[in-house]
Symmetry: C2
DNA sequence: GCACCAAGAGAACGGCCATTCTCCCGAGCG
DNA sequence: CGCTCGGGAGAATGGCCGTTCTCTTGGTGC
């Protein structure tokens, strides 16, 4: 009631760790610090998650759920199928312009944990896969026959915008991706 | 005359380090190992580069030069401006299918070195910027008026294909990016 | 032949951090 | 009131690696 994070210890730990990882980078955040900010003894922390990597994987799964529901909610606000599809890039645009934007967690986690943490690699791949399926679903609703191919193209645009925004800080990437997505959709409708 | 890498010590060190960083990841490669494989004493190594980060930055600059000249050479093989522009994605396709493909060095370096190494961030940004300029130049040759905007869209596709290939191993990303690029160019020519 | 110098090879230092261990306190029960 | 036991806080452990330091060795000029 007086702190910032409430709820069951496990939920709280993941929320706190996610926030720290996202803000400062995985490598820069120590288990000690997570322990302090979550108010959980180290022993209990290691009782919940066998390793830092496992905790990171749990954070990534949480992010995946949150991102997908946010994307879906954004799409729900539109009736026109094309507008629904393009709303995905509006979501990116808003996200990039949020004050604390630090880039895609998945890209960062992949780079830092690297090939040494298979559990992280799996989480990243699952996320990218789920985003691609979401996009393909939206494209199918537009009435495009080759929904798989066009969905994959939108996925490339989605990740490209995130990569550019992450690496160069170019927040205009979302707008460029949106414009390209429009061209891709029109080509899909025509062909 | 009998080793694998020749040339001036500095050139050799960068080539060896680049190869190791690229193959095993920046974090996994120690200075000791670079020393061993380059056949250079540690003291001399630190005489050439004040820190590991500086050496990494030199490797990234080298990659930037190599990548740009490879892209330009590939484009030179075509006469039609549209084909020249799309050849960029053929280059990606070939690269993704090379046996030792491990993803984009710049993405990996950015994730691993992170915000802690400004010199790396700078190198990554310079590279992304130079690629974008290269693409914008190709688009301008096609005769599209809004070359800047379309070039930026192609840059999104370029980085998106690399990000997907790096994170998920989806080598088809280059093909999807190419198809999307065609749609973007057609829209640019029409509008 | 001998003293000096340069440079190479690797040992040593310092610091960081995931993970484990130990001690201590407070609550609950007899 | 005293005893035990669970759990919390943080100290120790073990290992890694960037960076620096030292010693050795081989060559050269007198």
């Amino acid at each position: 009631m007086e702190g910032q994070v409430e709820g069951e210890p496990l939920t709280r730990v993941v929320a706190v760790a996610d926030d720290l990882f996202f803000t400062h980078g995985v490598h820069a955040v120590t288990m000690q610090r997570i322990r302090s900010e979550a108010g959980v003894p180290l022993k209990k922390l290691y009782g919940m998650f066998p390793s830092k990597d496992a905790l990171l994987a749990a954070c990534l799964e949480r992010r995946d759920r949150i991102a997908r529901s946010a994307l879906a909610a954004r799409a729900e606000q539109h009736d026109d199928p094309v507008a629904r599809t393009l709303s995905v890039f509006d979501f990116l645009d808003d996200w990039f312009h949020q004050p604390g934007f630090r880039g895609c967690v998945f890209a960062g986690a992949f780079g830092e944990a690297g090939a040494a943490a298979p559990v992280v690699v799996t989480a990243v791949q699952a996320h990218k896969q789920s985003v691609r399926e979401l996009l393909t679903g939206l494209v199918a609703d537009v009435g495009i026959r080759e929904a798989d191919a066009v969905g994959a193209q939108l996925a490339v645009l989605f990740d490209g915008a995130m990569a550019l925004a992450t690496f160069t800080g170019d927040t205009g990437a979302a707008r460029h991706a949106r414009q390209a997505a429009r061209a891709v959709l029109e080509a899909g409708l025509r062909g």
